[in-house]
Symmetry: C2
DNA sequence: ACTACCCGCGAAACCGCTTTCACGAAGTCT
DNA sequence: AGACTTCGTGAAAGCGGTTTCGCGGGTAGT
């Protein structure tokens, strides 16, 4: 099959009776071209179905139109729907702005591997990171001047724009809800405390707790790791050390679900004896019995925020971090 | 900051005392260069830390080194961890072969939108599709000669290589397991029957059923849509129309989980009264109580298979569809 | 020993678009 | 009216590789 040779500038220029330079100007929105000639070019473009060759354009201009989304290896492997959802939000926004998303999975903790090289090589116009445990890669790249956006709150406060869910506020309102429901002894099962999100959620819990005038008894704060098992484990521990616990705020739904299971196995009624609040509004929140009261975060919105922050940067605008709101979803568990 | 100008061929060529053409040959593995000169070039490359500019290379050679992964809009929005996981498998294999993954979300059902244009424009060397309901886009692109791979079994039998899980075999062995456990009246909750996977899983169920010598009673086959709600809905229906049902094969874990929930709410014991088998071995299979017996599919392997099929095609090799095996995971629900 | 090949290699064209530069025409200022 | 800008435009030089083409020298055939 003869691949219908795509037209080039030279063809368009000839058809419109102008120079290639003018074609380029028109196609790049240069205002200085006389409207008449601009129209002639536009007509030729339409008529011939011209589409710019991005590669050639990238070579000449130094802008590739590609934005990298960098994902830690273990993040992806854990098949957490979270990153996929965020990425789809990012991708939507970017493509609306004529940019494309290239996906890169970086071996976890790699500061100077292939991904770093690729990003440094100028083949992408920007990079969006999902930061979990370490900011090292991002820091390493910072001095290259590559526009970057971080999804999640960075550990060290570099002045790199980031987007994040309102972890603090969400945790605060979740805990507050427990308090309002009459809970007197509220425990917290944190997420992997090496992540900023887990810390912020813990802080939200503490804040709400503090407002009651008390401070959490020793052992009421359990350091989990976001896994189902850690939820189960800590629920078991709690029941031993604090048999009178009547509320649990878990840093994600998975741990909350684990906790509920153990609670029930050990003869506690949820929510009658112990009320449980999770975080994320993941699928499991709906399937757990009783269904989990939880803090919903809008993951797609988070991705879109990341994308728009990138766009803004590319346009040279000033950018500020974006914190997306959460929502308390009341179901049966609290 | 002065961006440490990356060296170009001309620098390498000078340093090695050869022509740019020779540099190119060495870097592209052309055997015809004398080993001594090749070594000189290689040394210069190492010493100067040279890295090829992909964009320039793409322009000159017509090969971009980019492979598109095309995802239906609704697939992604449903935050199904499935596609993310597949993509990570794809991405791994591709990057091992010096290729990069660009993500594209295509508005569902769009046959000739921006994505199609982009793919036709020759800016990617190949495309991997996640086909759900329609082959239209793929068909449309077929005549361009773009190397393509489909994830999932296509509806119409075009001769485009695809990879898929052994849906039939998995469903067969799942149903068989129910039979072996002594179930007499086994229902099937299918997935969205507009997908080939759902059809194949139904066929697997039917095959196992047939081998018992009977045929499913009317109403034992319920057309679901992979959602939690449809699982719940059909379980409720089943209990009404066939109160004596003692086994359910659901086309995915989500529906199985929904079914289990309803069964329990309605006073049936799982697995004592009704045994349930799911499909996927998703996270929810482990978190549901009782944990789901299910058919595990290796999603990462599926992605890797798709990636390798693409590589093979790019190398001009003959490619055949790849069907990845499934595995029966026995837990508590059956 | 002479022509016919083959092989390794460099010169140069080329991929398709962007951007600088300079030029002529038109407008502005004394 | 002459000198100085400003403005729209085209010619041409890249961007950094790849690839064709052909040359010179060595090998082989007769």
């Amino acid at each position: 099959m003869v691949p219908a040779q795509r037209p080039t500038y030279s063809v368009i220029a000839k058809a419109a009776g102008v120079s290639e330079a003018t074609v380029s100007r028109v196609l790049n929105g240069d205002e200085s071209v006389h409207p008449d000639r601009a129209k002639r070019v536009q007509d030729a473009v339409d008529k011939l179905g011209y589409r710019k060759n991005r590669v050639a354009s990238a070579l000449a201009s130094g802008r590739s139109g590609l934005i990298a989304v960098v994902i830690d290896d273990d993040l992806s492997v854990f098949s957490d729907p979270f990153w996929g959802t965020v990425t789809s939000g990012v991708s939507r926004i970017l493509s609306e702005n004529g940019l494309h998303t290239v996906l890169m999975v970086s071996p976890v903790g790699s500061v100077d591997g292939g991904v770093a090289h690729y990003l440094k090589s100028g083949e992408v116009d920007g990079a969006i990171f999902f930061v979990l445990h370490s900011d090292a890669l991002v820091n390493n790249l910072k001095k290259t001047g590559l526009p970057m956006v971080i999804t999640g709150t960075p550990h060290s406060s570099m002045d790199i724009p980031f987007v994040d869910t309102d972890n603090f506020g969400g945790a605060y309102s979740g805990t507050k809800h427990l308090i309002n429901q009459g809970c007197k002894k509220i425990a917290c099962i944190t997420g992997d405390i090496g992540t900023t999100a887990a810390k912020q959620r813990l802080d939200g819990y503490l804040q709400a707790f503090r407002e009651t005038g008390g401070i959490p008894a020793k052992g009421l704060i359990c350091e989990g790791d976001y896994s189902l098992e850690s939820g189960m484990h800590h629920a078991r521990m709690l029941l031993e050390t604090h048999p009178d616990v009547d509320g649990i705020f878990a840093s994600n739904d998975l741990m909350a679900a684990g906790a509920v299971t153990v609670l029930q196995d050990l003869g506690r009624l949820v929510p009658e004896d112990v009320k449980v609040v999770g975080f994320d509004d993941a699928l499991i929140a709906q399937t757990t019995r009783p269904a989990l009261t939880t803090i919903r975060q809008d993951v797609v919105a988070l991705g879109e925020a990341a994308g728009s922050l990138m766009i803004a940067q590319l346009n040279g605008e000033d950018v500020k971090p974006i914190i997306t709101p959460t929502e308390l979803i009341i179901r049966a568990s609290a």
